[in-house]
Amino acid sequence: MKIDFNLNGVQVSVDKDPLSRLIDVLREDFGLTGTKEGCSEGECGACSVLLDGKLVTSCLVPLGSAIGSRVDTIEGIRDTKLGSIIIESFANGGAVQCGFCIPGMVISAYCLLSSNPHPTEDEVRLAISGNLCRCTGYDLIVSSILDASRRLA
């Protein structure tokens, strides 16, 4: 069926089974490969996107849930003011190693700082607890998000 939704600020339409996974539609139909598939069961957070501003794992979201909604991916937020501040802090702060979890981490950080621009370290750790990273041990991701928060002023 024809499904209309807002993708990164643009109205789009796609003719697909409403039970298609949102991640597949983003990556294959729209070529938005910044959203990564890490586990296919909502555990790792690499495929995180925002659905009407809420953090979701797109591997578990059926396309039908996006009807009439807004979906924001890494490609949509990376050049926003907040997105670019977060990304700059990640790059300067040693938050990025293999990078596979990082777009999802940036989305989670974006979601947190959108509603809580000045979180505590505990709040940051909680906000990214659904994003697994095997490289960094998380410390430099946490400090980079706190750095982004300071730079928001």
Binding site: T73, A95, G99, C135
Partner: protein
């Protein structure tokens, strides 16, 4: 500028913006999809493979399609590309089903039935050694073994010992959980086979798979794609994907693609070797250690692949950071019907380092001594002999590092204040890691080459086979060249390796890249600088590894200087255990490392954080059982790796100890950082609950069993 001053990582921005392409992000025109058909039983004979009617364009590739030799040439060549009649483990590749439509391919795949004649498998170390079901290898299931003796004959020492203490310590499987699952594509470009892979060692892949088609390594091109983590899991393992893909591409004439799903990857990939280490330690009447004997057994799985080298490294590290008057060890790699184990950060050293630290703590507690004071007396020093009877070449700064960790952690006060069994504990471990290939392996086996190119009127380019997999090498290596050449590092070109363009500089493994390959780039850059200063342009410089004279090694007897330089570490971990739920909370982690001179302190910091947390995961929540040949935990909801909530911000310090043969004094450090946190964590938990812990992992349910004195789930 000091080379250790951090710069922005070269790969960070593109990765954070989601622009970096990993294998699954590429589209290959006309590529076929593929699914691996694997053995569902641990041991037996294939009687029949029943295929559904396959539409045109769909085909099951098997060993019958291999025109050359059915073997993957890893360090040994015993692992076949496709099983023929016998299967030896669950997950062994039987075939590769290929076809153009992903959904139809899956439907067809689900209809394939393999009929087996099953045999009784051997799964555990004990079952393997007991040849359960009948030996399937060498009449005794022993893949490999070695023995080492240093100093006075240990039997003579036992005969005059006042007391002999024995202890058995075991560790479990560990899954790598690189966030990007295994993935590769094989295609043909201009008449040559080209493999794109998420991999650590492009030259390994070429060598491993070329014989399948009766080709030479040079006939195949391997191009590494951005690799989303590896930790050893993509050292030899990509061969297991690339072999079948190469045969499929040869047969169909089309590009063929294989991307593992997560469950598929956990259930069907190599792991860290489970281990069993038995110590027998001779003490005098004052509690001094006279000698230590050990037996180190690793569960290798069905095929040897690289495991003898893993076992060797395990044995070389079995006395940890200590030196005793007499030392003996025997290592055995046992064959079982489990998925073969292979490289994993530390490469055999973490198992024995965990064991020795745990054993030293046990000895101290039996003797009623303070564990730290007890261990300090035996810390190895420059010039003293390791278990391979070769001297330590460098200054050992463990005492200075210990002072840093004691000060930062408040260890002395806390270990007094937290009574044994009080629910609170602080633990501490010493560890090291021999850098690069053992002994003369770098000159005898690897013979690394690198090239540095000054493009005419243009930039400098580094050509080598080292891969970026998250560890930061693309930044570190550019920094090394740029610092010598006095140019901005971002102007230096260093692309993901393509084996048709770059010389073979050896694998990205063994913590060798910075200390060995980095030094070759350093030397090439010195030469290039002289020539540029003399007005030359448009030229290249090639350097080849040379082993320093005067540090002999005999690979047939394993005697001599095993490692020219070690990384060293001290780690303290504090935990608090909830007395009702047995849930452990890590309250603090404090570290100090000797990595020579850091190339970039921020990159090193990230390695320390990641390695230490991965080690705590191995010791705590990462339970991976093999039941009847099948891994029980095959998804990230039941194989539990640490999250951001599980460890607090850790303290990271270094001592400076420049290494004479490393670039700017740098040594290897990627594996080192993994090697000690498990022992420190278990020491802390052991003190908090007042129990001796001899086995890892210890998820909270196991801690509860210890607290209740139950044997049940251990």
């Amino acid at each position: 500028m000091d080379i250790k001053d951090p710069i922005k990582r070269m790969d960070a921005l593109a990765k954070a913006r989601g622009e970096t392409k990993y294998l699954s992000d590429y589209r290959f025109e006309g590529a076929l999809y593929s699914r691996m058909l694997r053995s569902s039983i641990p041991r037996g004979r294939i009687v029949d493979i029943k295929l559904p009617a396959l539409p045109e364009g769909y085909r099951l590739i098997t060993y019958k399609d291999i025109p050359g030799k059915n073997a993957l040439q890893m360090i040994t060549a015993d692992w076949p590309c496709f099983a023929e009649t016998d299967v030896k483990f669950v997950g062994e590749t039987i075939g590769l089903l290929v076809g153009p439509d992903r959904e139809l391919l899956q439907k067809l795949f689900d209809q394939i039935e393999v009929e087996y004649e099953a045999q009784e498998p051997a799964i555990t170390i004990a079952e393997g050694l007991a040849c359960k079901g009948g030996a399937f290898l060498n009449g005794n299931n022993v893949h490999c073994s070695l023995s080492l003796q240093k100093g006075e004959d240990i039997e003579a020492v036992f005969s005059r010992a006042y007391r002999i203490v024995e202890q058995e310590i075991t560790t479990g499987f560990q899954e790598h959980v690189y966030l990007e699952t295994n993935a590769a594509v094989c295609t043909k470009e201009d008449g040559r086979f080209v493999i794109y892979a998420s991999a650590q060692c492009p030259f390994y892949i070429r060598k491993s798979v070329c014989g399948l088609l009766g080709l030479k390594p040079d006939d195949i091109i391997v191009r590494q794609t951005a690799t989303g983590g590896a930790f050893g899991g993509k050292e030899h393992f990509p061969d297991v994907l690339c072999g079948p893909l190469l045969v499929a591409c040869y047969v169909t004439g089309k590009p063929v693609r294989l991307v593992f799903g997560r469950e598929e990857d956990i259930a069907n990939s190599v792991k860290r070797h489970p281990s069993r280490v038995r110590f027998k330690t001779a003490l005098d009447k004052d509690g001094n250690i006279l000698g230590m004997d050990s037996e180190v057994v690793y569960n290798v799985g069905a095929y040897l692949a690289s495991s003898f080298v893993v076992l060797q490294r395990g044995c070389f590290h079995v006395t940890g950071c200590y030196s005793f008057p007499s030392e003996r060890t025997k290592g055995i790699g046992v064959a079982t019907n489990t998925y073969p184990s292979c490289a994993f950060r530390g490469f055999g050293a973490p198992q024995t380092l965990f064991a020795i630290e745990t054993h030293m703590n046990y000895l101290a507690s039996l003797l009623g001594k303070d564990p730290l004071e007890f261990k300090r007396r035996y810390l190895i020093k420059k010039g003293e002999l390791t278990i391979t009877s070769g001297p330590i070449i460098e200054d050992v700064k463990l005492v200075q590092m210990l002072e840093q960790v004691l000060k930062a952690s408040g260890y002395a006060e806390k270990s007094k204040a937290y009574a044994i069994g009080s629910g609170k504990g602080i633990g501490l471990a010493f560890y090291n890691h021999g850098g690069a290939f053992t002994g003369n392996g770098e000159s005898a086996i690897i013979k690394a080459h690198v090239k540095l190119v000054k493009h005419l009127g243009g930039p400098v380019e580094i050509l080598c086979g080292q891969t970026e997999m998250g560890q930061g090498f693309q930044t570190a290596l550019r920094k090394i060249a740029a610092q010598v050449l006095e140019i901005p590092p971002e102007t230096v070109i260093y692309d993901n390796p393509d084996t048709s363009r770059v010389p073979d500089s050896g694998p990205t493994a063994a913590s060798r890249s910075t200390m060995v390959v980095g030094n070759l780039v350093y030397k090439a850059a010195l030469d290039m600088k002289r020539r540029i200063d003399a007005g030359e342009d448009g030229f290249e410089v090639e350097t080849v590894y040379e082993h320093p004279e005067g540090y002999p090694w005999d690979q047939s007897t394993f005697q001599g200087v095993a490692y020219l330089g070690y990384g060293w570490g001290v780690c303290a971990v504090e935990v608090e255990i909830d007395k009702r739920t047995a849930e452990p909370v890590v309250k603090g982690i404090w570290t100090s490392h000797d990595v020579g001179h850091p190339i970039d302190e921020l990159i090193c910091h990230g390695q320390v954080n990641g390695g230490v947390v991965q080690g705590i995961g191995w010791a705590s929540t990462e339970l991976l059982q093999n039941i009847g040949g099948h891994f029980k935990q095959t998804s990230l909801s039941d194989y539990i790796i640490p999250t951001s909530m599980d460890t607090p911000t850790m303290s990271v310090e270094y001592v400076d100890n420049p290494y004479p043969w490393g670039p700017f004094g740098a040594k290897g450090m990627g594996e080192l950082t993994f090697n000690g946190s498990a022992a420190a964590y278990v020491d802390a938990v052991s003190r908090a609950i007042g129990k001796t812990i001899n086995a890892i992992p210890i998820p909270s349910e196991v801690i509860m069993d210890y607290m209740l004195d139950k044997e049940a789930s251990r």
